[in-house]
């Protein structure tokens, strides 16, 4: 604990990329407090996002069109196909790029929906209290009590596994987490003087909740959302692996690749790596945002 703060800014030990060495202040969040692991996460997230956005431009070949079955099937990584081809002769790198779009789109929209829904319900529960609070939080308990994967598998097996349905379902199983988080924040915030001051100024309840309380609870929600993306990527991959997810996603590639894992290792390895890279990047970034927003949590690192 008594470790002195490093005055060391020497080129090797204390080196930081110059562009990330920003002054404390509004840019502190972007610099992630100089936390290098978080910066790695930010770079990872940024790279995957750019690749996903530019997938149609970057993909060298049509990810869907089968290749020449006599020539292109199960080619190992090499010139022409950087990551090899699958059992139908399709280019793995191109499919990985398109899969990035799908995996990220599903994860981001599921997180967006669940956070929006959770923030709304959790903040209303925390602000109003009483039986409304009880009702909302018991609903959250019920959702949390059902094993998530079992629920997802059961519901998707009954319905057609459309991407929209999967996003909605993922969001539905996820909302209790942000709801609990923001409820706790609102409970502690609403005892603060500025809330009473707002009432004394004649502000209405909704105005105090939406304009004053929720913005103050923004930081932990941002952290939870960032961590949630990594979580959702894994969950969606799991569903796709079970054949219940979105076609063309990384999880689906993983499943297609497993039958050939002994004779064509590249089919399962690269989508698996992609999933790990995205999940780890978002987790590092989320941890970094939390540390940057709350310097106390950095003590003793």
């Amino acid at each position: 604990m008594s470790e002195p703060t490093r005055p060391d800014r020497s080129p090797i030990v204390g080196w930081r990329a110059p562009i990330l060495r920003m002054p404390v202040g509004s840019t502190r969040l972007l610099a992630l407090g100089g936390n290098r692991m978080a910066q790695v996460g930010l770079v990872g997230v940024g790279m995957v996002t750019v690749l996903a956005l530019l997938a149609p431009v970057l993909a060298p070949l049509d990810p869907l069109a089968p290749g020449d079955l006599s020539r292109d099937v199960l080619l190992p990584p090499g010139p022409g196909h950087v990551l090899g081809t699958d059992h139908l002769g399709r280019d793995v790198w191109s499919r990985l790029l398109v899969g990035a779009r799908i995996s990220l789109a599903v994860a981001l929209s599921a997180v967006g929906l669940s956070v929006g829904f959770g923030v709304l319900l959790g903040s209303v529960a925390g602000y109003l209290g009483g039986w409304i609070d009880g009702a909302i939080m018991r609903m959250a308990d019920v959702v949390l009590a059902v094993p998530r994967l079992v629920l997802l598998v059961a519901v998707i097996a009954l319905l057609a596994p459309s991407p929209v349905a999967i996003v909605l379902l993922l969001a539905f199983t996820q909302w209790p987490a942000p709801a609990r988080l923001i409820r706790a924040e609102i409970l502690s915030l609403k005892a603060r003087d500025f809330v009473e001051a707002g009432r004394a100024l004649g502000f209405s309840g909704p105005r105090i909740l939406f304009r004053h309380l929720i913005p103050n609870a923004f930081a932990p929600v941002l952290v939870a959302a960032t961590l949630g993306v990594g979580h959702m990527v894994i969950l969606e991959a799991g569903l796709s692996y079970l054949g219940l997810g979105v076609p063309l996603s990384w999880g689906a590639m993983l499943r297609d690749g497993q039958t050939h894992v002994l004779n064509a290792w590249w089919l399962a390895t690269f989508p698996g790596l992609a999933i790990v890279v995205v999940a780890v990047s978002f987790n590092l970034l989320g941890d970094g945002i939390r540390d940057a927003l709350d310097p106390r949590q950095g003590v003793g690192r």
């Binding site: 009473e196 001051a197 009432r199 100024l201 004649g202 304009r211 913005p215 103050n216 923004f218």
Partner: protein, 320 residues
């Protein structure tokens, strides 16, 4: 014309399973326009609860007694539901809180918070930015435009309290309630803020209700003073009269306990005992157990009696 604020027989209690805790009982006083009235008393004497009841911000568990009357600008507000007070808050009664750092929203710029109040109360003809800048200028912020862009933590304590006063003024209230507005500030700033409140009272013809435990504040800033003890008003009068010639033994004890005036090495007076438990009050005078003048008749609860022009005291012994 009637008084801006007229409180009569105000009683507030907190229902408990084993006997209600009565924290304010039989409180009466009034505030006129352009006048600064100080409510003074120790912690738990009911002065803050009295102030909160003016704006309907009492805790949900509090109950206002049936015979209470609070008239603000001619409107009866005692017993009005919290949410029905919204129109009154900020617009008729503005509040200045003790700690300006916690009373401002930490994540919004001062200017935005000020403009929000202006917008909610519709007190400007569209030019919120100009009106906000003028308000900050009126409360004496050195750089109104710069302060508009600042977050609360970027301002100094005195500047924050000025900004908070500007926000309280934004709804153009008739009555300004300041609850310990200077207790979080250092001594030189206290005087500046008190002078500012007095000046605003004069220029805007505001009634100012100043809640404090500090007779220094009372002496410096108030025209009249109301002394609270154990939830009651025990003495009331012009500040000069009460400080010159305190009538109630509690007021005398308070003034004797002030550290200034006496010889440097002299011990200042200490009042033995403590205020009675609000859930165990009997019929007699609330102060009699600590009172050096207590007599047999103090077993009967004294009423607040007029002793002179605008002068009232609740005491059998030193009363009229």
């Amino acid at each position: 014309m009637s008084a801006l604020l007229e409180v009569r027989n105000l009683g507030v209690s907190f229902p408990r399973s084993h006997g209600d805790a009565t924290v304010v009982r039989d409180v009466s006083f009034q505030v006129d326009r352009g006048e600064t009235v100080a409510l003074v008393g120790e912690s738990g004497s009911g002065k803050t609860i009295t102030a909160l009841s003016l704006v309907g911000l009492l805790p949900e568990t509090a109950r206002v007694d049936g015979g209470s009357s609070i008239r603000i600008a001619g409107r009866e507000v005692a017993g009005v539901l919290r949410r029905d007070m919204e129109g009154l808050r900020g617009g008729t009664v503005g509040m200045v809180f003790q700690d300006p750092l916690t009373a401002l929203n930490p994540v919004r710029r001062v200017g935005d918070q000020l403009r929000e109040v202006l917008r909610v109360h519709g007190t400007t003809g569209g030019d919120e930015w100009g009106a906000a800048t003028r308000l900050l200028q009126e409360v004496g912020l050195p750089d109104p435009r710069g302060s508009m862009e600042a977050y609360p933590h970027q301002l100094s304590g005195g500047m924050r309290q000025r900004a908070l006063i500007a926000i309280a003024l934004a709804g153009e209230p008739d009555l300004l309630v300041a609850d310990e507005p200077t207790s979080a500030l250092d001594a030189t700033l206290q005087l500046q803020i008190l002078d500012l409140l007095a000046e605003l009272g004069r220029t805007r013809r505001l009634g100012v209700l100043l809640i404090t435990h500090d007779f220094g504040v009372v002496r410096h800033a108030s025209d009249r003073v109301v002394v609270f003890y154990a939830g009651e008003t025990v003495e009331e009068g012009t500040t000069a009269a009460v400080l010159e010639e305190p009538l109630h033994p509690y007021t005398r004890a308070l003034l004797a306990a002030l550290p200034y005036g006496g010889e440097p090495k002299e011990r200042f007076g200490v009042l033995p005992g403590q205020a009675p438990d609000p859930s165990r009050q009997d019929a007699g005078c609330a102060f009699r157990e600590r009172c050096p003048l207590a007599e047999a008749r103090c077993e009967v609860h004294p009423r607040l009696e007029k002793t002179g022009r605008r002068r009232r005291v609740r005491c059998w012994v030193s009363g009229p």
